[in-house]
């Protein structure tokens, strides 16, 4: 199957991206540890938001369960980190994420989008309760310690690599049959079915792909905490933050979410430092502002006013639905 249509505009962005990532890799030798931790936050949110948008952007299936996969990744490291070498642990994490995503995907993605939203909405609560129950009744310890010989710089480099892989995947996906099928589904599911697309399978495939990146992010971030328990690992606030970031940036474009990640990570940093008790309210307000005033995200704004009138997809002009979305 011809997965990628090579075009002249394929090589240039890849090389440009490679240069940018190579430059970013030198960051640890330039800045102190405070800025490194900020860089880690930004990179991890960039992965989560981009992975979220990779599935939810074109399909409009809003996943509220980012933290479930993230937390499962972190827990895999907590459980296996001292038994197995770290790369193997990462593979295990990815497998765990895949299995859960398949389970969720096949039970909900055959149905209307709202079932999926509801399922993911409560999934965090469910997984947290089940993990707590297991820890209390089987291992008899609620928390776990993670002592791994992984430095902050290592975490940063791992995240950076993962982000690079994710962006490359997204880039290729945008030019592949699978990505095209996904966009047709987003536009009109009935049409997609009539084109001979196996709608459920495409959606599940993308959901799994996006979940694997989320799980890996959690696994890579885990050594940073040294101590985790179900409340820390499955904090619903994270899913919420990821959705806001992707929406602010614009979930319909590959680089859109990252545009939302940078300002919002900085904003959260300021909010947690200055208004720790009002964090949730501020976050809610920010979210509402974005939903009401910037429905297409920053990128949507750019496309609407001023920007060069590029088609938002390499495969054709934007449809009416897209312009308004």
């Amino acid at each position: 199957m011809n997965i990628v249509t090579f075009k002249s505009d394929f090589i240039k962005p890849v090389i440009l991206g490679a240069i940018i990532f190579a430059a970013l890799a030198f960051l640890p030798s330039l800045v102190d540890s405070y800025y490194m931790s900020l860089a880690i936050s930004i990179t991890s949110f960039a992965i989560l938001a981009t992975a979220w948008a990779m599935f939810s952007g074109p399909t409009r299936y809003i996943s509220l369960a980012t933290v479930v996969f993230f937390g499962i990744g972190a827990y895999t490291v907590a459980v296996l980190g001292e038994i197995l070498p770290f790369p193997v642990v990462l593979i295990c994490a990815a497998l765990a994420g895949t299995v859960l995503a398949l389970l969720v995907g096949f039970s909900t993605l055959r149905l209307a989008g709202v079932y999926f939203v509801i399922f993911t909405f409560g999934l965090t609560e469910l997984v947290r309760q089940v993990v707590s129950w297991y820890e209390v009744n089987v291992t008899r310890e609620l928390g776990r310690y993670i002592f791994l010989d992984i430095t902050q710089d290592d975490i940063y480099w791992q995240l950076l690599t993962l982000l690079a892989v994710l962006l490359l995947t997204g880039f290729i996906l945008g030019r592949s049959r699978l990505g095209f099928a996904l966009r047709i589904i987003g536009e009109d599911e009935t049409v997609a079915k009539h084109c001979g697309i196996n709608v459920t399978r495409v959606k599940v495939a993308l959901f799994v792909l996006s979940a694997v990146f989320m799980t890996l992010t959690g696994a890579i971030m885990a050594p940073r905490w040294t101590y985790i328990d179900p409340v820390i690992a499955f904090n619903p606030m994270l899913s919420f933050q990821v959705v806001i970031m992707a929406l602010l940036g614009g979930p319909r474009r590959l680089l859109g979410p990252i545009l939302g990640v940078i300002p919002l990570t900085l904003l959260f940093e300021v909010l947690t430092a200055n208004f720790p008790n009002h964090f949730s309210i501020m976050l809610g307000v920010t979210f509402m502002v974005i939903v009401y005033l910037l429905p297409g995200g920053v990128i949507g704004l750019y496309e609407k006013y001023g920007g060069p009138n590029k088609p938002s997809h390499p495969n054709g002009p934007p449809t009416t639905k897209e312009k308004t979305a």
């Binding site: 039970s107 079932y115 609560e125 919420f240 976050l283 809610g284 307000v285 509402m288």
Partner: protein
């Protein structure tokens, strides 16, 4: 033990059914998928708590204050927050996405406000806490009162929807908003009214629950979750379905909590939800269309 578990399951299930009836109204008639719904339940619980502890107003009288207050509040939420989304949406799918996002934001605002005021602790108050003997099981009187109110209000609600003009109009809008317009039903008014009425049901649920359960600021999500599952299980827009589904959920939960582990109630909810999704996603009494 069994009769106690079943009874507490029925009380709990009655609450779920009541709360879910409101949500099915908001989703079925107003087409708003309200993820902040459970927060409104919890707000009512805290309001009942404040009335009881600081003003000495008992929750039954409190209901008389809180029902209209919640109706008005939800009316305002619909008018101010959700109307622009309804006006902006091109189709039902877009409204669904927008309303999910907006109410998701609202959820965190309400939760944040409650956290600032009340903190993360569990709350409860003393109201009719004496035991009554029912079929050999000692049941707290407040549970009986709550259940009684749930039955009366649920029945009243059902009668309003099936026997009155406005109830019929609401049901017509739930079935088909376009055709409802043709028979001179003010769809915008109906949507707003249904949303406010649904909110009032949430408040009733919250007050009744606060009579016999401890509650905390973070419980809203769980209420929303369970209400949503009950709505889907009963079939969207189906009041009787919500009643049956609520009771099933409540009893299943109470049995698991009594005989297996109280820490697994959400797991039970999810197992039931999964079964519904796999076997009959249109709900127990739903029609085969999705």
């Amino acid at each position: 033990m069994l009769s106690y578990a079943v009874f507490s399951g029925i009380t709990l299930g009655g609450m779920y059914a009541l709360v879910a009836m409101g949500l099915t109204l908001q989703y079925g008639v107003s087409r708003i998928m309200n993820l902040a719904y459970g927060e409104l339940v919890v707000v009512a619980s805290f309001a009942a708590f404040v009335l009881m502890t600081s003003a000495g107003i008992n929750p039954v009288i409190g209901l008389l204050i809180l029902i209209p207050a919640s109706f008005a509040l939800n009316w305002a939420i619909y008018r101010i927050l959700l109307k622009p989304l309804v006006a902006r949406a091109k189709n039902r799918g877009m409204l669904e996405v927008d309303s999910i996002l907006a109410t998701f934001g609202l959820l965190f605002i309400v939760q944040g406000v409650l956290l600032v005021w009340f903190g993360g602790n569990y709350y409860s108050y003393d109201f009719m806490n004496s035991a009554v003997n029912v079929f050999g099981a000692a049941i707290a009187a407040n549970r009986l009162v709550a259940l009684g109110f749930a039955v009366v209000i649920g029945l009243g609600f059902y009668l309003i929807l099936t026997r009155t003009r406005i109830g019929t109009a609401l049901r017509a809008v739930a079935v088909d908003p376009q055709s409802a317009r043709l028979v001179a039903i003010d769809v915008n008014f109906a949507a707003c009214f249904a949303f406010a009425l649904g909110g009032a049901m949430a408040a009733i649920g919250g007050v009744l629950v606060s009579m016999f359960l401890t509650f905390s600021t973070s419980m809203g999500v769980v209420f929303t979750m369970k209400a949503l599952i009950v709505v889907i299980m009963g079939g969207v827009g189906n009041i009787l379905g919500a009643l049956v589904a609520g009771l099933i959920l409540g009893i299943a939960e109470a049995l698991v909590a009594t005989y297996i582990d109280p820490g697994l109630t959400i797991a039970v909810t999810y197992v039931i939800f999964l079964l519904v999704l796999l076997i009959k996603p249109s709900g127990l009494f739903g029609r085969a269309t999705s």
